[in-house]
């Protein structure tokens, strides 16, 4: 059987899970304060950033440091709970499917959920920006290509983090510890991005990337340039390491 059909099965399993409305709720909560306080975007002379860019980037900062990592953790819980709550996993293991493929398919589902979160957030951004434009009588709406670029950067930089959380959720059997260790890693990422070793800490990637984007847009802030080396090789290695290890462990915990 092909990988595609395993993938479609994995998507079927999360039916009726209501995770998308939850993502929508998170996105609305993210943009709502920005819309009401849209006037503060005009007071950014010190930073030297245009109001419309500030409006976008402040929201992106919020999502990249907490909401996106948290959404990924919640998604890992969702994926694991659907398997465990009624022993569905036992049926899966007693069917002729390779556990490696199963694990990979689930990881892809996780990535798609993360992408959905980013897309929903970008969608709500446009609604929010339109409302703010109306209230403030100033055009906050940015060209789609730019918003798309920022969203894509955010998503891609979150992949190593997703791999890490996926590994945690598979290797740590007690849910309280797998969720807890995930969150404990999220909180200090604010501190880690200020250190030189940020590239060794996948959880800080999205926040770091968006912070750099911010500094690029703001003329008043020193532009921090991302050092692609060693970042890209390290991120790649961490991602591959996490995926390989999770595939090796997957299914083993049930046997």
């Amino acid at each position: 059987m092909s990988f595609i059909s395993i993938l479609s099965i994995e998507f079927k399993k999360i039916r009726r899970s209501k995770i998308l409305p939850l993502f929508l709720l998170a996105s609305v909560i993210l943009w709502l304060p920005s819309v009401f306080n849209a006037d503060i975007n005009f007071k950014m002379q010190a930073e030297g950033i245009l109001p419309e860019y500030n409006f976008l980037i402040q929201g992106f900062l919020g999502i990249s440091w907490f909401m996106l990592p948290a959404s990924i953790i919640v998604s890992t819980v969702l994926i694991n709970q659907t398997e465990r709550s009624n022993n569905g996993i036992l049926k899966m293991l007693a069917l002729p499917v390779s556990t490696t493929w199963l694990c990979l398919a689930k990881f892809l589902v996780l990535l798609v959920l993360a992408a959905a979160q980013v897309i929903i957030m970008a969608g709500v951004y446009y609604i929010g920006a339109a409302i703010a434009s109306n209230i403030q009588d100033y055009n906050f709406i940015l060209p789609p290509l730019f918003v798309f670029k920022e969203s894509a950067l955010l998503f891609i930089s979150a992949i190593p983090m997703a791999a890490l959380f996926w590994l945690l959720s598979i290797c740590i059997k007690t849910p309280v510890f797998s969720i807890g260790s995930g969150f404990i890693m999220v909180v200090p990422s604010v501190l880690v991005i200020n250190t030189k070793a940020w590239f060794a800490y996948p959880v800080s990637y999205p926040f770091y990337v968006i912070t750099t984007e911010y500094s690029k847009l703001a003329s008043g802030i020193d532009t921090t340039k991302i050092q692609l080396i060693p970042w890209i090789p390290v991120a790649f290695l961490i991602t591959v390491f996490c995926i390989v290890l999770s595939c090796m462990y997957f299914g083993r915990s049930y046997r």
């Binding site: 209501k18 998170a26 919020g62 953790i73 819980v77 709550s85 007690t174 309280v176 969150f183 501190l191």
Partner: protein, 240 residues
């Protein structure tokens, strides 16, 4: 009685170690922060307790909230996972008392977490500011205050956990609530009354009137949430 049973139920779920770990971790935050940047902080004006809270409490409170949320998830997941809840319905206990028993357990763990954190803060004031025991009273008062304003958040997390059978929904809703709390402006009294936002408040350097306001709000919110839980149980009975 209910409380002792609840203690038994969380055996081997990692509930107590999780709280202790979270406490140690968040107590380590001011210590690490001071160790790295003590020059900035020791040279700034104001009382040591004030400085430490301003510098670290946002992250520490965040960790506390996450610990509370995760533990609320676990407490009720053990109830729903093996269909134990059904068994509980068949026994002569009111589900509401079970909720209160769970709350007492959670509250004790919150006290434990705050005690570990106050030890961390005390260590910082003593080691870097050399203020010794004279700030002890202020630190204890601060943490007593945190304890009181944390109650509605703990109750809300338990309320949400009791409402949803799927642990991930509980987790998702609570995480969104915490996220919302971080988005709310701290200096706005009305908005800070949101249960998940209150624990981010600090004692030191806050006007006495505001403090009294938050304490009163904490009591009122707690009672409202408990009533809501009892109503939820009643309403759910009608539909099941």
């Amino acid at each position: 009685m209910g409380f002792i049973i609840e203690c038994k139920k969380v055996k081997r779920t990692g509930f107590i170690p999780a709280f202790i770990c979270a406490g140690i971790f968040s107590a380590a935050i001011p210590v690490i922060n001071m160790a790295v940047r003590h020059k900035i902080y020791t040279s700034s004006a104001g009382s040591p307790v004030n400085i430490l809270f301003n510098a670290n409490w946002q992250v520490m409170a965040m960790l506390n909230m996450l610990a509370v949320v995760i533990c609320a998830c676990i407490i009720y997941n053990s109830e729903y996972a093996g269909n134990a809840m059904q068994k509980m319905h068949l026994l002569p206990v009111h589900e509401g008392y079970m909720f209160l028993g769970k709350f007492v357990l959670m509250f004790l763990m919150c006290i434990a977490i705050l005690a570990i954190e106050s030890a961390g803060i005390m260590f910082c004031t003593d080691y870097w500011f050399g203020s010794g025991s004279q700030v002890l009273y202020l630190v204890l008062k601060s943490f007593a205050y945190e304890m009181v304003i944390m109650v509605p958040a703990a109750l809300s997390a338990l309320f949400i956990a009791s409402a949803f059978k799927n642990m991930w929904i509980t987790l998702g809703v609570c995480v969104v609530c915490i996220f919302m709390a971080t988005m709310l402006p701290m200096d706005n009294f009305i908005l800070s009354l949101f249960p998940f936002a209150m624990p981010f408040q600090v004692f030191a350097g806050t006007a006495e009137k505001t403090i009294q306001g938050f304490i009163a709000a904490s009591f009122i919110e707690s009672i409202i949430i408990i009533i809501a839980e009892f109503l939820l149980i009643k309403i759910r009975r009608l539909f099941e």
